[in-house]
Symmetry: C2
Subunit: 288 residues, 2 copies
Amino acid sequence: MKSIKKIAIIGVGFMGGSLALALKKSYPYISIWGFARSKRSLYRIKKLNVFNRIEQNLKDLVKDADLIVLALPIYAIIEMLKKISPFLKKDAIVCDLGSTKELVEKSAHKILPKGVKFVGCHPLCGGEKHGAEFSKADLYKGALCLVTSSPKRSASKTVDKIWKKLGMKTIYISPSFHDKVLSPFSHLPHFISFSLTRSTPLKYAGYSGASFKDLTRISNSPPSVWTDIFLSNKKNILKDIAQFMKMMQDFKELIRRNNRQGILRFITQVNKAQESLEKRLAIKPRTK
Amino acid sequence: MKSIKKIAIIGVGFMGGSLALALKKSYPYISIWGFARSKRSLYRIKKLNVFNRIEQNLKDLVKDADLIVLALPIYAIIEMLKKISPFLKKDAIVCDLGSTKELVEKSAHKILPKGVKFVGCHPLCGGEKHGAEFSKADLYKGALCLVTSSPKRSASKTVDKIWKKLGMKTIYISPSFHDKVLSPFSHLPHFISFSLTRSTPLKYAGYSGASFKDLTRISNSPPSVWTDIFLSNKKNILKDIAQFMKMMQDFKELIRRNNRQGILRFITQVNKAQESLEKRLAIKPRTK
């Protein structure tokens, strides 16, 4: 397994900033570098007081890095892969933290030079915060990390060791399966929350119950990240939206027709599904 | 203002049971009676160990009660108003805890005999629990209670005093305005949550992010209560469902057409709305 002396983080927002804090804590001897795309972000990133060096020059940042972490929106990851490719060490490992995996995985294999290893990762701990200023060292602790490379590859083993050291559990799945299951369990809920917040007459929000707050908490999620998620997982999300809207339509018809027994049955089924769901959520994921 | 010596609670579930516990704590000298519709519920209610008496006979329960609280689903409230009407004291106060108010208010004025006062109430603290066994004495503390009678009436003042003693804030609004604003801020979120849980492939729930858990928490809400809410507030909820589905349709089209700028603008608008929403939620409601 590869020894890591220098890690470069590109995209120092909430996820990237938190990762830098966590890495510094677990690996005080590894040199952690951050990328600042402008003077303004350089100033913002400096405040974290965690990086051994903040670079504005990509070549200088990555040329001797053993591990490069891309904590960027999906299409920005692909652009960045093109930009850093010419400067990477022969045996460097590149990983990303993107919320969809199929497009990034395919792009990485096309773009990266021979010898450089790519490990697609998705730590399930993002949340609705944006900005490096919210970074926290324990963001990754206890979270699940979905890895879309083969666990047998040496690069996967190196990255896996780091995630575990940070307190994460890792599960290995294919990029296409990842995108298929994350669509109903993360992308659709965000799509729904955004639509609900946008369609609500906010002036009466003082009468809001806990239910409305539950459903709109994630409406604060960053536009750049979520635009890329919806576009890069378009196939799955459109299918899941259609299925959800069909279900709403059926349920709405029961109400419109005063079908008391139908509504009772519908919600009773939902209660049962919710119960089985809570049991499944309670089951600890199978770890590698 | 009327002096209250005996309170009868009809509907000893999560809301009614918690109310009994809270009343006993705040008013140890008031006699609190509960209604059990069957031997089985009698046994269940006894376990709460809070009632001065549990009655199976409605006449004996209400004939000398100063305040009767109906903690039942909407249509069950209306049936119960009919059943207890012949036995009520001339100056008794009847109040309900229902989640829609227009139908109950109209029915109460038709059904109740002259001299009996009705005060429509909706404490915003139900949640997804059902069953007396989950009752807790502090459920009402800090919650908002929407009251749909005039604050000038003597009966309203009596009930208001009790809610305040239990730690609630009261706001006076009309029954029709209540049903109009609760539709987007409580009924629609439940409709959405039920539909989402029902349309999701639960076998992959192990990959669920925090967002899915947020949106489906309330899917455990009781079928009898929610069937009655949707049916009794049909006019408002159908309108709000239609508006929400139109918003989803527009948003979906942006994704289908790869309209990156459109999606970015949509989510940016949502972020702004969410920010203004959080400010409004933070403002303490105007209390009487």
